[in-house]
Symmetry: C2
């Protein structure tokens, strides 16, 4: 089965423009072309696209993703580098998750803070009255 650029774009929730941009940047060397020059995406290409999507999620710049794809094309000589890349990414993702969890706690506190304020009709409720409750809440949340 062969897919057009628009179909693939739809499948991955991006635009055809973006896919062409990725191709121009060297991220899609695996995509073949028809005689007239149109891109012919195959199912086996979806694995690559999913990997690009995955690495983008982790905040990796396109240049480094391209580098990884280039390494893949160079065979066993680059195995060590590719291994190191994923080890580094693993650490980075764990850090990102930790940072987000920390942010989530702060945001949860603010949710409670504003919920109570909205109920009271004023932010003043958090001046003296509920100092103890706030401290209490901070412990549990």
């Amino acid at each position: 089965m062969i897919y057009t650029i628009a179909q693939v774009a739809g499948k991955f929730g991006i635009t055809a423009h973006t896919l062409r941009y990725y191709d121009k940047e060297g991220l899609l060397p695996f995509v073949e072309r028809s005689a007239s020059g149109r891109r012919r995406f195959k199912e086996e290409d979806f694995g690559w696209l999913a990997m690009i999507e995955c690495l983008k999620t982790t905040g990796m710049p396109l240049k480094r993703i391209k580098q990884y794809i280039d390494w893949c094309g160079k065979g066993d000589a680059t195995l060590q580098k590719r291994h190191e890349l994923f080890l580094e990414r693993k650490t980075a993702i764990k850090q990102q998750i930790k940072a987000l969890e920390k942010a989530l706690e702060k945001v949860k506190y603010k949710c409670w803070y504003y919920k109570t304020a909205v109920a009271a009709g004023t932010e003043k409720i958090h001046r003296q009255t509920l100092r103890k409750a706030a401290a209490e809440h901070r412990k549990t949340v």
Copy 2:
């Protein structure tokens, strides 16, 4: 205690340039000035800066962070909006964590994949030989 822009920048791991940029964008209306126009950061400002840092971590654009800070300056009339903002952010963060956890699983698999390949000296090890082991591994990881 009063802090210079350089001290605050150091404390938050950013540059003084960036702090001035945030000020120019309206993110630091709470920072007072000396008679000669120098910024005089106080300890109470650090809470605001920590909140900006927190929201930035969650990928919120500076314009929306500014909007929140503006709302804070408008008193109780904006309590509902601020509450909604943090509820929305809570959902967004949870989604981001989920996406990162999914990416982490893929990356972990690749770590294993390349570790084995490096040990074997070739990626071919993943062609036929270890198909079963790979399937097995995918279940546990």
